[in-house]
């Protein structure tokens, strides 16, 4: 305990010295988020300085081992760091699907060579990754995916199309589910890693109802993927044809992430925030109060879940519940924000709304309960794995 307090004091003074004031402002636009990668640019010097300080300290991925670019923090230390960063509203120094998704998969399934290379690249923000899972014909029924890698001895020739690849147009590499055995549904998929700069890969942004394009279609047309990138660095995670195990593991992580971030604005009560902007209709005020009850209760649930994960307690399917409840709540939150804001929130292009931020955010949240497994799929999983209902 004393060590932890010591660590807190050190962390506090390190943050004081290294986190520029600009990096303690709330994230307003996409440009405020630093994603790294080959073509990354910094919005300003403060963003660069903050990123580099964290990178050198291992704080882009605090819990990863030091040899892979992390800081090797224990879970309690990482919690202290999170708390201290939250205390000064420090922005995340680096955001990436490498940190959230590929990293955890490699830590669990990767070879030493893969960890040395890819984890360090991720931690240092050198390579930006995107995820190739869904296909036009394979949404909730992901395992029906068809993108095919033909075995050519030392390489595969990959053909097919992925959809909902987040920021694929800005990504450097892709981790991609590719069918390598057409006769074996679950045990015929390989979790491949390849460079998107190679021949045959093209991307096309998808314009959403929010007007934004965070997702792409990604086309693979005779893409040559070598089976190995050097000694102990295979181009696939886990085993060939066993990529579904990795994908399932990762989906668990994704659901945790979505439920942890997509849930609630922990700092403030929705009713308090909206009532400051104008008087709430009495019935709307009641709705806000009932929402705040649910939101605050959900915050306790998230905290309980994270505490239990640390000691290996809790049902392994629990993230599905958090994902379901958290995303449904976030949709409700934005419905209430629209209602409280009135006609102002309808503005699509105005300075006052920073080009329709309320409306675009409201529309964006409708995807929360679709991406990473729909609410209906989450309920299926709860029925089957937790309640053990028949035939689920």
């Amino acid at each position: 305990m004393a060590d932890l307090e010591q660590f807190r004091a050190e962390t506090r003074s390190w943050l004081e010295a290294n986190c520029p004031p600009e990096m303690r402002e709330p994230v307003e636009t996409d440009k405020d988020v630093y994603w790294g990668g080959r073509n990354a640019t910094f919005k300003n010097d403060a963003q660069k300085a903050w990123f580099e300080a964290c990178r050198d300290k291992g704080y882009t991925v605090p819990m990863w081992p030091k040899e892979y670019g992390g800081a090797g923090l224990s879970a309690p230390e990482a919690k202290v760091l999170r708390e201290e960063m939250a205390r000064i509203n420090a922005r995340p120094p680096l955001s990436s699907f490498g940190i959230w998704m590929l990293g955890p998969a490699l830590l669990h399934f990767g070879t030493e060579g893969q960890k040395q290379r890819f984890l360090n690249e991720i931690a240092r923000g050198e390579i930006r990754w995107c995820q190739g899972y869904s296909e036009p014909g394979s949404g909730s029924d992901l395992v029906s995916m068809q993108t095919y890698g033909e075995d050519k001895g030392d390489h595969w020739i990959v053909n097919g199309q992925k959809i909902w690849t987040s920021y694929a147009d800005e990504a450097d590499w892709i981790f991609c589910l590719v069918r390598t055995d057409k006769d074996n549904k679950y045990q015929g998929i390989t979790f491949m890693l390849f460079d998107m700069a190679g021949d045959g890969v093209s991307t096309k942004p998808i314009k959403l109802i929010s007007g934004n394009s965070p997702f792409c279609e990604t086309f693979m047309d005779d893409v040559k993927v070598p089976k190995s990138y050097g000694e102990d660095v295979p181009a696939y995670v886990g085993e060939i044809n066993r990529g579904w195990d990795v994908a399932k593991y990762l989906l668990g992580h994704e659901r945790e992430m979505i439920s942890a971030t997509g849930g609630v604005d922990r700092a403030s009560s929705l009713g308090a925030v909206t009532s400051r902007q104008g008087e709430l209709d009495p019935v709307l005020r009641s709705e806000m109060a009932l929402f705040d009850v649910d939101a605050l209760a959900f915050t306790a649930m998230s905290e309980k879940f994270l505490d239990e994960v640390k000691i290996g307690k809790g049902h392994p399917a629990q993230p599905n519940m958090l994902k379901y409840a958290g995303t449904e709540m976030n949709k409700r939150r934005h419905e209430l924000l629209m209602a409280a804001g009135g006609s102002r929130t309808l503005e699509w292009e105005s300075e006052e709304t920073e080009n329709g931020k309320p409306a675009r955010s409201w529309l964006r949240t409708k995807a929360n309960s679709i991406e990473g497994g729909t609410s209906e799929i989450m309920l299926n999983v709860i029925s089957k794995r937790i309640l053990e209902l028949p035939g689920a």
């Binding site: 009560s269 009713g271 909206t274 009641s286 649910d294 649930m301 379901y324 989450m378 029925s383 209902l389």
Partner: protein, 379 residues
């Protein structure tokens, strides 16, 4: 503090669960006393067993013969009471009245606590005046009279009031009805002249009194804490009682949900188990999610109460309101998914619905506490 039980709490949960399943079961307690039209509404034998287990003094310090534990531990017992629908004066006596008595003088504690700890005495609390919980407004009056006080007024929803050897009464000693200050708590003995009970059986088979105080003479030593200084003690009682009622509600929700999920795995229609129908699966899964969230926030609130955190007030109301939502859903879905058999007295699911209704009303329902969340959040 992490949001799970430590080793001691886990052990307590195990023994409370075993004990309540054995001794506090529906057939052995709730139905047994109800079907005999018992005027107490609970079994004194079980209350003595609570004493032997130490539950009666769970919140009391060791020097008063208690276990010196906290709200989290009291809640562990309450969740099991809820899951088994065990009729018990535990919440009124060992949580609410005990929280008040902790603030009493040596004499007051010496007079009332040993018999509570032993499971001999039952105590009640008289807070509400009217059919809704509005503790902000207290009109029941205690006027100075000689060396003591004269108590006049009415109280409602005094749970197990007619069986109680002593009732903790919140009365006004100065100011007007809606003032925060000017409240004093009194320990009123069962045999006080001028106190009359109208004891009524409630929907859940528990008993509650409408009490009339018609100039009841009280000694000065009936005062718990300071004259005019009762509001803070009352607030402490309400926090403990509300978080406790929420914990019991989680138990009710769990009991109803477990029964219902089991039924989905047994009942066949159209030649197949009804649990295979996705329409029911999704509703059951949604219910599970609500109950888990309610359980988490009750534990959080209990820890905050134990830590005397400034957030305890807010989270107590969040917990009470969330449990009302989740447990209400559990019993409604429970009866509906059981179909016709769920409407029969013979089947237990309806008993859960009745208990949830009474518990939801006790110390403030969902609407009251959601409104309080809004007020405490500044809107």
């Amino acid at each position: 503090m992490p949001l799970y039980y430590d080793d001691d709490q886990a052990m307590l949960a195990d023994s409370a669960s075993d004990f309540m399943r054995e001794e506090g079961a529906i057939a052995k307690q709730l139905r047994h006393w109800r079907d005999r039209d018992c005027k107490d509404g609970f079994g004194h034998g079980l209350w003595e067993q609570f004493g032997e287990m130490g539950f009666t003094g769970i919140l009391l310090p060791e020097e008063d013969g208690g276990l010196g534990m906290g709200q989290v531990e009291a809640n562990i017992v309450l969740e099991e009471i809820g899951a088994n629908l065990t009729p018990s004066p535990f919440l009124s006596s060992s949580v609410l009245a005990a929280t008040a008595l902790k603030h009493g003088s040596d004499d007051t504690r010496g007079r009332w606590l040993p018999d509570l700890v032993a499971g001999k005495n039952v105590y009640a609390v008289a807070i509400d005046e009217g059919p809704k919980h509005r503790p902000e407004r207290i009109a029941c009056k205690a006027e100075k009279s000689g060396n003591g006080f004269k108590l006049t007024g009415k109280k409602d929803f005094v749970v197990y009031g007619a069986s109680a050897e002593m009732i903790v009464v919140a009365a006004r000693t100065s100011g007007s009805d809606s003032d925060t200050d000017g409240i004093t708590l009194f320990a009123v003995p069962q045999d006080a002249d001028g106190m009359s009970h109208d004891s009524v059986r409630l929907v859940d088979s528990s008993m509650a009194s409408h009490i009339t105080f018609d100039g009841v003479d009280l000694d000065g030593d009936a005062v718990i804490g300071e004259v005019d200084g009762g509001r803070e003690i009352l607030n402490a009682m309400l926090r403990a009682g509300r978080v406790g009622a929420a914990a019991e509600g989680v138990g009710v929700a769990r009991g109803a949900m477990d029964m219902t999920v089991d039924y989905l795995k047994q009942r066949k229609q159209f030649g197949t188990l009804i649990g295979t129908f996705q329409a029911l699966q999704h509703r059951a899964a949604h219910l599970y999610s609500e109950v888990e969230i309610a359980r988490a926030v009750v534990l959080k609130a209990a820890q905050l109460v134990d830590g005397e955190s400034e957030k305890a007030e807010l989270m107590t109301s969040v917990a009470k309101a969330k449990v009302a939502k989740a447990a209400g859903l559990a019993v409604r879905e429970g009866v509906q998914m059981h179909g016709g058999i769920g409407m029969t007295d013979e089947y237990d699911i309806g008993l859960y619905m009745k208990r949830e209704r009474a518990l939801q009303e006790f110390l403030g329902d969902m609407y009251y506490h959601a409104g309080r969340v809004a007020e405490l959040s500044g809107y």
